[in-house]
């Protein structure tokens, strides 16, 4: 019994760690969706790009990790602005399918460029955290896991404060609420769109660096961008709180499903479970836990 319990809590803890990264990426995703109504299929590639840039700066340019981390964030900020200006801005007012397709194409371009520059094999970050597991509340936890969980929570809290108290955050919330109202209040919507992409790129690259430290960096990281869909659908596409709650929930659910069903169904359940869950949510509660229900009038 205690063994079962230990297994269960171990799954929960790994789920929380993974969930914290999901929450970060989902936050970036919802940010873009909320303020610009764009469903961003390139979120995973933003994450992967951040991880690779940080790796290149640390290993190839021999910059201390902390500095390369900060430089990566700066790069992501600039990259987000660039993408919004060149690719997304011409798409304002286009149909949903065009916007979806352009972010898919963007993701392919980014993946190809990354493959051309860095190749396809998995790369490993230089060890920053010790391997020694920490004995924590009766469970063994790797230092990196604790660190990433803490870091993700701090990030989420910081963005929460940013939206609540800074004027830029307020402007973004207004834009998300109603673009026309925001414009009449003198908010420069185009600037908000650019800012949303920049912040989203930053958040994703933080997630990428954390994941890269845990699992190593490869093209697989981009799959994270698709995993984010179950999280945001569960939380509600346009809710920041929803993204965070959804991220943690999907992380835990995925681990529990993987832990208990993998031996029965023969592997891979971890990757699949979120999507089965996604279909179920769409059928019973399409707008998620915190999403705004869309009422359409003719």
């Amino acid at each position: 019994m205690t063994e079962n319990l230990a297994f269960f809590s171990q799954l929960i803890v790994t789920g929380l760690v993974l969930g914290s990264v999901y929450a970060l990426v989902a936050l970036g995703f919802v940010l873009i969706y909320k303020s610009t109504s764009v469903l961003n299929f390139a979120q995973g590639e933003l994450l992967m790009l951040g991880a690779y840039i940080c790796l290149a700066l640390t290993i190839q340019a021999h910059i201390p990790f902390v500095w390369s981390f900060l430089l990566t964030l700066a790069f992501s900020f600039a990259f987000g602005l660039l993408v919004e200006r060149t690719i997304l801005r011409p798409m304002i007012g286009e149909s949903i399918i065009s916007v979806i397709m352009i972010t898919i194409a963007l993701s392919t371009v980014m993946r190809s460029i990354i493959q051309i520059i860095w190749g396809t094999e998995t790369k490993v970050f230089p060890q920053i955290f010790s391997d020694e597991p920490i004995y924590f509340l009766g469970l063994f936890v790797a230092e990196i896991h604790l660190f990433s969980l803490g870091f993700a929570v701090i990030c989420v809290a910081m963005f929460g404060l940013f939206f609540k108290f800074s004027s830029a955050g307020l402007a973004m919330r207004v834009t998300a609420f109603d673009q026309q109202v925001a414009q009449t209040m003198g908010i420069n919507i185009k600037r908000i769109f650019a800012l949303a992409w920049a912040i989203s790129a930053i958040v994703s690259s933080i997630g990428g660096i954390i994941l890269g430290n845990i699992n190593g960096i490869s093209n697989e990281l981009a799959a994270m961008g698709l995993k984010v869909f179950p999280c945001v659908i569960l939380g509600g596409l346009d809710s920041i709180i929803g993204a965070i709650v959804g991220g943690f929930m999907i992380g835990i659910l995925e681990n529990i499903a993987g832990g208990y069903l993998d031996p029965i169904l023969g592997g891979g359940v971890k990757e699949l479970a979120p999507f089965v869950f996604l279909i179920i949510i769409l059928m019973i509660k399409p707008y998620g836990l915190f999403g705004k229900k869309l009422i359409e009038r003719l």
Partner: protein, 347 residues
């Protein structure tokens, strides 16, 4: 003599090919397509065959996404279901080709309808995500249901055999595919001149309004999913019989994205555009491959980077089309035609 095309009867107005010129061009094109295998090389026939298969699948996706407005990022899944169903029916049940094809199409249609159920409650972005999930669930099932599908090792599919005649070469298969593609094009074009097709278009333009004028959304949305998946299933079956081997890798999300790219580059809601898009998006990577073979000696690395370069050219093409010509090749064609129709007195 009237300067332009003026109809005096409904019958002439409703014709697909309206002038004698268009009809003779089409006849010429038909002749060319019929005679192509006699002078084309094996490689060109291979490209032509893939184009035919993709035309069938892409028309299916265009029925769903272009004409009915239901975004699907899971078309590859339905192609997979068609391919695997017809392969299983042929190899495990030993049924003939002419039964395996429609059976593959019907099973794809059935599963397509199941995954179409969310479209009744959600639309737009939400539906796109639901179909994405359909893609992953299908991929997983195919890989893990090993007793039926052989998992990642894939399945062997024999060459099709129609009443004793075996289609075992590119040239023989070309004509078989030509028939399938022609039927797909003709039925796709004519579908939208019927009551069902008009209803689907009404659903796309405004689904609530369509419901108000008496179009059952439940019926027509599911019908769109079924029709689209049926085409996809046929395309998948043809693909399996053509390549003789199917593995799960042939039907990943990349395939779904390829199909979407084809109909977007070609033109959403246009059968002619679908054909253009398929040809464009199939020939482009083949040209790149040829180019890389030529440049192999000067840039040694180019072959290892080929897949990445192909991906990039593909995606950049899609981006450029979406930004510069959102209506796709069909719109360019329309403009070119409009220019020449009254030439040289276009004013």
């Amino acid at each position: 003599m009237p300067c332009g095309l003026f109809h005096t009867r409904y019958r002439t107005d409703e014709r697909v090919f309206q002038t004698i010129w268009v009809r003779s061009w089409i006849a010429g094109l038909g002749l060319f397509v019929l005679l192509l295998p006699f002078f084309a090389s094996g490689y060109i026939l291979y490209v032509a065959n893939t184009i035919f298969i993709f035309i069938v699948g892409a028309i299916g996706l265009n029925i769903l996404t272009g004409f009915t407005g239901q975004i699907s990022i899971g078309h590859g899944a339905f192609v997979a279901i068609g391919a695997y169903s017809s392969a299983i029916i042929t190899t495990k049940l030993n049924l003939p080709f002419w039964l395996a094809m429609p059976a593959g199409g019907l099973s794809a249609a059935l599963i397509g309808m199941v995954f179409g159920i969310p479209s009744l409650r959600v639309k737009g972005l939400y539906l796109a995500i639901a179909t994405l999930a359909a893609q992953f669930i299908t991929d997983y099932t195919i890989v893990h249901w090993e007793s039926l599908t052989n998992g990642i090792t894939g399945m062997f599919v024999p060459s099709p055999d129609l009443f004793g005649f075996v289609f075992d070469s590119d040239r023989k298969y070309y004509y078989l595919l030509l028939v399938f593609a022609a039927v797909a094009v003709v039925s796709g074009r004519n579908l939208f001149r019927t009551r069902i097709g008009r209803a689907l278009i009404a659903v796309r333009d405004r689904d609530i309004a369509a419901e108000l004028i008496g179009i059952s959304l439940f019926k027509y949305k599911l019908l769109a999913f079924a029709l689209s998946s049926f085409y996809a299933g046929i395309a998948g079956g043809l693909w399996g019989f053509y390549t003789n081997v199917i593995t799960p890798e042939h039907f990943t999300i990349v395939v779904s994205i390829d199909y979407l790219a084809m109909i977007i580059v070609g033109g959403l809601g246009s059968i002619l555009g679908t054909i253009f898009g398929v040809i464009f998006m199939t020939v482009l990577p083949e040209l790149l491959t040829t180019l890389s073979l030529i440049l192999k000696d000067t840039f040694g690395q180019i072959t290892t980077l080929l897949s990445a370069i192909k991906g990039m050219v593909f995606a950049v093409t899609v981006i450029l089309f979406l930004i510069l010509e959102p209506e796709g090749l069909a719109e360019i064609w329309r403009r070119v035609k409009a220019y020449w129709r009254l030439w040289p007195f276009s004013y």
